[in-house]
Amino acid sequence: MAVDVLYFAWLRERIGQPRERIETRAATVRDLVAELVALDEWHAAALSDLAAVRVALDQELADLDAPLAGVREVAFFPPMTGG
């Protein structure tokens, strides 16, 4: 399946683009991260420390073990600093 993968803040900068369309067979977010890390050094650098990465699936916060079935938009970003 194809998902839109979005990056924000320093993840966006390290990866060098704000979004990309990815063909994946990943079952969970964690599986998708493994596929992204294997793409190139920039993805690897951005996603190396998962403790510093937050995830949203279709614009709802989720965790790394959440299933990807039916999801159209996956976003990766650092801990939020609003307010």
Binding site: F8, A9, R12, A56, A75, P78, M80, T81, G82, G83
Partner: protein, 144 residues
Amino acid sequence: MSARVQSESFDLGAELSGFGAGAGAIVTFSGLVRDEGGRLVALEIEHYPGMTEKALAAYGAEAAQRFGLSDWRVIHRHGRLAVGEPIMMVATAARHRQAAFAAAEYLMDWLKSRAPFWKREIGPGGAGAWVEARSEDEDALSRW
């Protein structure tokens, strides 16, 4: 009862005109850009369009139900904000002060750590570091 995400500034006084009519207690919080002892000239705030609006509306509705608010408002800006400018505000209206205070603090704790905004420091020489999340802000959520 509204949540807004915008790049334009806002005026707290104007926002409160007519807000919470009929309530006994109104609490507001506003966050302003600090200069951090001259280190900053501005903040640049990135957000996640689409998710942001949904998150703010959801946290507002949750606070309204939990604390019995008669009115609430959340405004959060994005883009480049100069020192001294307002970053965001929340306002809560309830019958008594305890509920209005608690709801405003609850909303702030959620916005700080769960709304998709990221702040970057802009110094005299240009873009600087991304602001790091404070563990106190994450901890603050656990009290609710």
